[in-house]
């Protein structure tokens, strides 16, 4: 993000554009001769555009240049070991475009030559093995759409409303279709010994990320993926190979995956002791908190997506997801949780994937307190932030799935707030 594109600048830009649209929509009948967008011949209607050789790998319209990942510079010590955020407020449906999937890496984006990439399986196996990428392409493949959420998503909001935009409060999540090989096939190829109870994936990057995954999960639904949304993984998502651990915290989805070790005990790596453990108010910390709990957020209206059309028909939309499976219902409140209506889920409902919801209503121009509340197929209900804080305190960092409140002012400006 450049220094000139400040949030306020962006917001103003958004409002200006919105106002122009509103003018076009509402005031046009009063304009003599009609809307110039119609009455005047536009350049694109008159002149030929670019040819098929202009953009061999296509990119979004220049008018969408503001739709991008953004980082929060003060959040971490260095952008090389940091995070940026998916622009959820600009997206629709359930699939995240590859170039907009948030990034989190611990030693920058490794540039791995796939010809030189190897995946090793060692430890408590009958035959320690080495696979090339070509070897992996000869296993049976599967396609699955899964969300990936960082355990620290919304982690800045434990003490109260901090960041003004769902990109920042909830943008450490994305959802793509992965193509890969079931981890159980790879493990079976090496032959897991009966003493093997844990699997440790390791990355090839300069952080050599490791985590401990119980064998049961590894055999259940983990994938070793090489494609996302049909094309090769992006470098920042682990090209050429990453682990997919459906429904579990993103840190376990080791990128640039080069090794899987089978063991009889967990390893207690840095990322499962010092980090990704959840400190409670009593000074004890929960460890191995793998599952991402039921969660939702309204992506529009939201602070980066104010209501610019004035009173009348309004589309509210958002995302819901749960590491426990499918989302069975999303409720929406316009009055800060006093009264709720059930939103309309649309699009595919897939286990451990993002779900899209809508609620269309007529805005009367009064102040609103927007909330969404997801319920998953296991029956778990998304809790309020107050409920979470009452049990866990404010220093857990991870696994904040509390209900988000957006305040809509009478002028349509939206803000991240905490309410009574």
């Amino acid at each position: 993000m450049t220094k000139t594109s400040t949030r306020r600048g962006f917001m103003k830009g958004g409002l200006t554009a919105g106002a122009a649209l509103a003018t076009a929509g509402l005031v046009a009948p009063a304009r003599a001769g009609g809307d110039p967008a119609i009455t005047e011949i536009q350049d694109w209607n008159r002149y030929s555009g670019a040819g098929v050789d202009a953009s061999p790998y296509g990119k979004p319209s220049d008018f969408e240049a503001h739709v991008m990942r953004r980082n929060v510079a003060w959040l971490t010590a260095d952008p090389v070991s940091s995070v940026n955020f998916t622009p959820l407020h600009e997206l629709d449906g359930i699939i995240t475009p590859n170039g907009l999937c948030f990034e989190r890496h611990h030693a920058g984006v490794a540039e791995v030559d796939p010809q030189q990439h190897r995946l090793m399986i060692n430890g408590l196996v009958d035959t320690p093995l080495v696979f090339t990428m070509a070897d992996l392409m000869r296993f049976p493949r599967e396609n699955h759409i899964y969300f990936l959420e960082c355990a620290a998503n919304s982690g800045m909001e434990w003490r109260g409303a901090q960041l003004n935009g769902c990109q920042y409060t909830h943008g450490m999540v994305h959802c793509v279709m992965y193509t890969g090989v079931k981890l159980k096939h790879l493990l079976a190829e090496a032959g897991v010994k009966t003493a093997g109870k844990w699997v440790m994936p390791e990355g090839a990057d300069a952080s050599a990320m490791t985590r401990s995954i119980p064998l049961e999960k590894a055999m259940e639904d983990c994938l070793v993926a090489f494609k996302m949304n049909g094309e090769a993984l992006r470098p920042e998502q682990g090209y050429p190979l990453r682990l997919v651990v459906p429904g579990w915290e993103g840190n376990m989805w080791v990128k640039w995956l080069r090794r899987l070790e089978v063991g009889d005990e967990p390893w207690h790596a840095r990322e499962e002791t010092s980090k990704y453990t959840d400190l409670l108010a009593n000074g004890k910390a929960r460890r191995f908190t793998w599952v991402m709990d039921v969660k939702s957020v309204i992506t529009s209206p939201s602070p980066q997506m104010p209501i610019t059309h004035g009173k009348g028909r309004t589309v509210l939309t958002g995302l819901a997801w749960s590491g426990a499976g499918k989302i069975s219902r999303v409720d929406v409140s316009l009055d800060g949780g006093r009264n709720w209506v059930t939103a309309r889920l649309d699009g595919p409902s897939l286990t451990k994937a993002l779900h899209r919801f809508y609620h269309e209503f007529d805005w009367d121009g009064s102040e609103l307190f927007l909330q969404s509340r997801a319920i998953d197929e296991a029956g778990f209900v998304q809790p309020t932030k107050q409920e979470l804080r009452a049990v866990r305190g404010a220093n857990s960092i991870y696994h904040n799935n509390g209900i988000q409140t957006w305040h809509v002012a009478k002028d349509g400006v939206v803000e991240n707030v905490e309410i009574s």
């Binding site: 993000m1 949030r7 600048g9 929060v72 959040l75 010590a77 260095d78 090389v80 611990h106 030693a107 010809q115 090793m120 093995l129 080495v130 696979f131 070897d135 992996l136 800045m156 409303a161 901090q162 960041l163 003004n164 190829e189 090496a190 032959g191 440790m200 390791e202 300069a206 952080s207 490791t210 090794r259 070790e261 390893w267 207690h268 790596a269 840095r270 010092s274 400190l279 000074g283 004890k284 910390a285 929960r286 599952v291 009055d335 800060g336 009264n339 709720w340 209506v341 307190f369 209900v381 809790p383 409920e387 049990v391 404010a394 960092i397 803000e415 707030v417 905490e418 309410i419 009574s420």
Partner: protein, 373 residues
């Protein structure tokens, strides 16, 4: 870019592949073969000696060389479908007696990948079938006929092996027979993880005083002279008994449950931007120094090694509990949520993000805000 250059760019990956495939060095392999010469002969007029002659080895069914007395294990392996090719010879040469349990070949195996590659390149030069070494499936008649022609009379003179294990003697592992066995050197190069029980700790040692020198040079710029951290880099020391505070300090001393995590993490990831550059001794020394920064050891002459490593207890080793989120009432209840008049009164704002204003490019970026690290 000219069309010619573009064509080269497209070809580049294939050129690399081709180079990789020819990286085996038959001349170097001839030297490696010196280790085999006591028992094996290859080349024109080669005869069986202690071991079978090795002409046309590639594509040969195991245990099928005419006139050689094989172990029952090797014969059985051939009957089970073992054909000598790049993959199977690789696996065999790494550890002959575990690949074909009961083989007569007493050779311990070649530990270096490069030696095996070169040796195989050398042997290939005496094999007419080496052009298609991977296609073992394409030779059904050899599988069914060759072993049948060989066995009985050849095995008579042999001492029975301690355990003939045909199940493990087949050439292929697993279900799809994909990948190849990892060599000992390969596993050693990557398997550097260390567990709390000390599994994985390498040989070596280092003192607090040695660690201090390394730390000043390579760590203090980010972590601070006393582990207090510069900016938002991780705090390494201090914070003891702060975990119940409003603003806890989670340092190695105050929070980390196991010393093994310190060794493992420094060894694999530090120093930031130059990972894997420290020796095992360096990592012992730095781990010792981190203990010193946290007053867990107080003697500058303290030396940490594999021998005393697991005797060090971290202050917060009992500070962790397993995941019990689902016992929280908001989950345990699984109650049908309220839909109408759920809270009293109207909503009042108690906190604004705009007041804290730490959203990127606000005027007071990040002042007083917590880190996700």
């Amino acid at each position: 870019m000219s069309r010619f250059l573009k064509a080269l760019a497209v070809l580049a990956p294939f050129l690399i592949t081709a180079n990789g495939a020819t990286a085996q060095d038959a001349d170097a392999g001839a030297k490696v073969f010196n280790k085999c010469k006591a028992c094996h002969v290859v080349g024109e007029g080669a005869k069986h000696r202690v071991g079978p002659e090795l002409n046309d080895l590639f594509g040969r069914t195991a245990g099928s060389a005419e006139g050689y007395k094989y172990s029952p294990a090797m014969t059985t392996a051939g009957e089970g479908g073992l054909v000598w090719n790049d993959e199977s010879l690789h696996a065999y040469l790494v550890a002959p007696r575990s690949f074909v349990k009961g083989t007569k070949m007493a050779f311990a195996g070649l530990k270096k990948q490069e030696e095996i590659d070169n040796l195989l390149a050398f042997l290939k030069s005496y094999s007419s079938d080496a052009a298609a070494p991977q296609e073992e499936e394409a030779k059904p008649e050899e599988k069914s006929e060759a072993p049948a022609a060989a066995p009985e009379k050849k095995t008579e003179a042999e001492i029975p092996p301690p355990s003939a294990a045909p199940a493990t003697a087949v050439a292929t592992h697993g279900v799809f027979h994909l990948g190849r066995p990892a060599t000992g050197d390969e596993i050693a190069a990557w398997d550097i993880d260390v567990r709390p029980d000390g599994q994985g700790l390498p040989d070596g040692r280092g003192t607090v005083a040695q660690g201090e020198v390394l730390y000043s040079d390579q760590c203090a710029a980010c972590h601070g002279d006393f582990g207090e951290a510069i900016g938002r880099w991780p705090v390494l020391a201090g914070g003891l008994d702060t975990l119940t505070n409003d603003r806890p300090v989670k340092s190695i001393g105050s929070y980390w449950p196991y010393l093994s995590t310190v060794y493992d993490y420094i060894r694999r990831s530090m120093p930031f931007g130059d990972a894997r550059s420290l020796s095992d001794d360096d990592v012992y020394a730095l781990t010792a120094y981190v203990l010193y920064l946290n007053d867990i050891v107080t003697d500058e002459d303290f030396e940490l090694s594999r021998d005393n490593f697991t005797a060090v207890d971290m202050p917060n080793k009992d500070g962790f509990i397993d995941d019990d989120r689902l016992s929280e009432t908001h989950y345990a209840d699984k109650a049908e949520p309220c839909m109408k008049d759920c809270r009293p009164g109207t909503a009042e704002i108690t906190a604004h993000a705009a007041v804290l204003d730490v959203t990127p490019d606000g005027e007071d970026d990040g002042e007083g805000a917590p880190s996700i690290e």
